[in-house]
Amino acid sequence: MSRHHWFAIRQELPPRRRSLLGVVAFLLPLALWCLVSYVPFLWHPMVRVVEPGAVSWFRPDLLIPREAFAKEVDRVRSEGGLVPTGTRANPIYLPAPHAVGRALYTAFTTAPVLRGDLWLHESLGMSIRTIFWGFLISSAFGVPLGILCGAYTSVARASEPFVDFVRYMPAPAFGALMVAVFGIHLEPKIAIIVIGTFFQQVLVVANTVRKTDLGLIEAGQTLGAKRRHLLLRVLVPASLPDLYNDLRILLGWAWTYLIVAEVVGVSSGITFFINQQAKYRNFDNVYAAIVIIGIIGLATDQVLAFLGARLFPWKNPRPSRLRTLAIRLFADRYTVLFPDEPEKETTS
């Protein structure tokens, strides 16, 4: 029997199972989507007309609700006309996986419909630029202020009530105002992201700094560290890994503000692309764009997590993820080279 149980409460899984489940997490929704898309008797509430027959308003490839199609068929049959034919189909807003997969490629290679419109990669670049500047500006002020709030109760009492107050105002509410101040291009969008991120950031950072082990501060004091050194040589380095993780989470929040920010003023970036494609009813492109946002987010987060393990080796003295991955990939060869070592891992 395996040493590891699949449903052991709060127990770590062996790495092989962890990555397996990670893949399953993506395959399961994909399989569901495939089922709905490719098994014709599942859902498929529409009919795609193949042969219009005697129905005057039918056209090939037209999508019609099943009941309406059946009614027309009954009518034509009773009148003795040519019966129309069709295949069951899903609504236009649910393209099949292969269509979205194709769109993931073609969306980049298709020239924009209107002259002056942006290519997908240009739109993406614009969005990433917006996020980058918004998050950078927010962090440049939010992190230091948060650290000061966490370190000094007086600073916290003097700023946090107001920060808390503004935090509850939805960032998009500032849209019109920001357009008035910054114009209609990228600036108001960056401002919205700053507003959406900054106030949360101050509170989150302050809380993290506050959670620092007080014993470390006291140890610093008994070793002769005074105010400035206590802050910069003890408090900040002690909370740095947690602050880094906070920023990772906040970056995710910044992405959620992106879509509402980009409709402020002149619609731009990935939002503009999505809206434009929806207008042309190219829903495969819409899905492709949304998936790309997800991929960018996930990839950024993974890169940041990887860098985090490198930046704070003292926090996580295990071998790096890359090395673990390499070892896992070459597990069999590893066994030949060092037959004793992985033995401990695999035997129960």
Binding site: E218, R233, W314
Partner: protein, 261 residues
């Protein structure tokens, strides 16, 4: 065989051999490093102020090893934290080398039960911390730190981060870190309380050895009577509710001491 009468037992533990008496006579001639005068601490409790410590006075002389012992809740941790300057007394004062002190400072080094090593610094950098705070250059601090690390026997672990050290090794590092800052008095707040019995015995022997070789005065908090008897020149016994000095005992056991009987 019957036990001797209680009155005899009472006086027994104070009897010193001539050699030990001579040692204490010499000790009393040394200059006072720390003088605690009528120290008291009151907390604001729910039903009015609660007295944690009342009128605690004692002196620690140069190179003396003084243990403070008492039941939990007697305020011995509060006492050492006040000496370290991490808590403020509500009465009395403390003199270090004759000068009144308040607030934390590097002249009173501290070793905590919970290690409190800086996890982002390796052993060397941890030990260097106090030296760097005193304005020593990095190279000089590193050279100095290395000697202290040698002394506590961690030369092989200079580049190791605290997370990878065992409890005993962590406490050795903390000891080296506190000693490197060259404090007038070393405060130790139940430093071996979190260690297993074997490691604790090792660390006690190790501490005695260091104390013999280094010019350092130690104020050591413990709730373990055996530990106090093994380590201390004198033992300050606190009683609880309120925390007061019950008595000060000159340990009559000759040195060197060890766990072997």
């Amino acid at each position: 065989m019957s036990l001797p009468p209680a009155s005899m037992l009472e006086s027994d533990y104070r009897v010193q051999s001539p050699a030990v008496a001579e040692r204490f006579r010499k000790l009393r001639e040394r200059p006072v490093v720390l003088s605690v005068e009528h120290l008291g601490k009151e907390f604001e409790g729910e039903g009015g102020p609660v007295t944690a410590l009342r009128d605690v006075s004692f002196e620690v002389r140069r190179r003396e090893f003084l243990c403070v012992i008492g039941p939990s809740g007697c305020g011995k941790s509060t006492l050492i934290r006040m000496v370290a300057g991490l808590d403020y007394p509500t009465a009395g004062r403390m003199l270090l080398d004759g000068r009144e002190v308040s607030g934390p400072g590097p002249d009173r080094g501290m070793v905590f039960q919970g290690y409190t090593l800086f996890p982002w610094l390796n052993v060397t950098r941890n030990v260097m911390f106090g030296l760097e705070m005193q304005g020593m250059s990095r190279d000089q601090a590193e050279a100095e730190a290395r000697q202290w690390i040698d002394l506590v026997g961690l030369s092989r672990f200079e580049k190791t981060y605290p997370a990878q050290l065992s409890g005993g090794m962590k406490q050795r590092t903390a000891l080296a870190r506190a000693l490197a800052a060259n404090p007038r008095i070393l405060l130790m707040d139940e430093p071996f309380g979190a260690l297993d019995a074997q490691t604790r015995a090792q660390m006690q022997t190790h501490l005695l050895e260091i104390w013999r070789n280094v010019d350092v005065t130690i104020l050591f908090i413990t709730h373990d009577l055996d530990e106090a008897i093994l380590l201390a020149d004198r033992i300050l016994v606190l009683k609880a509710n309120p925390g007061e000095v019950q008595e000060v005992i000159e340990v009559p056991v000759p040195r060197p001491r060890s766990w072997r009987r």
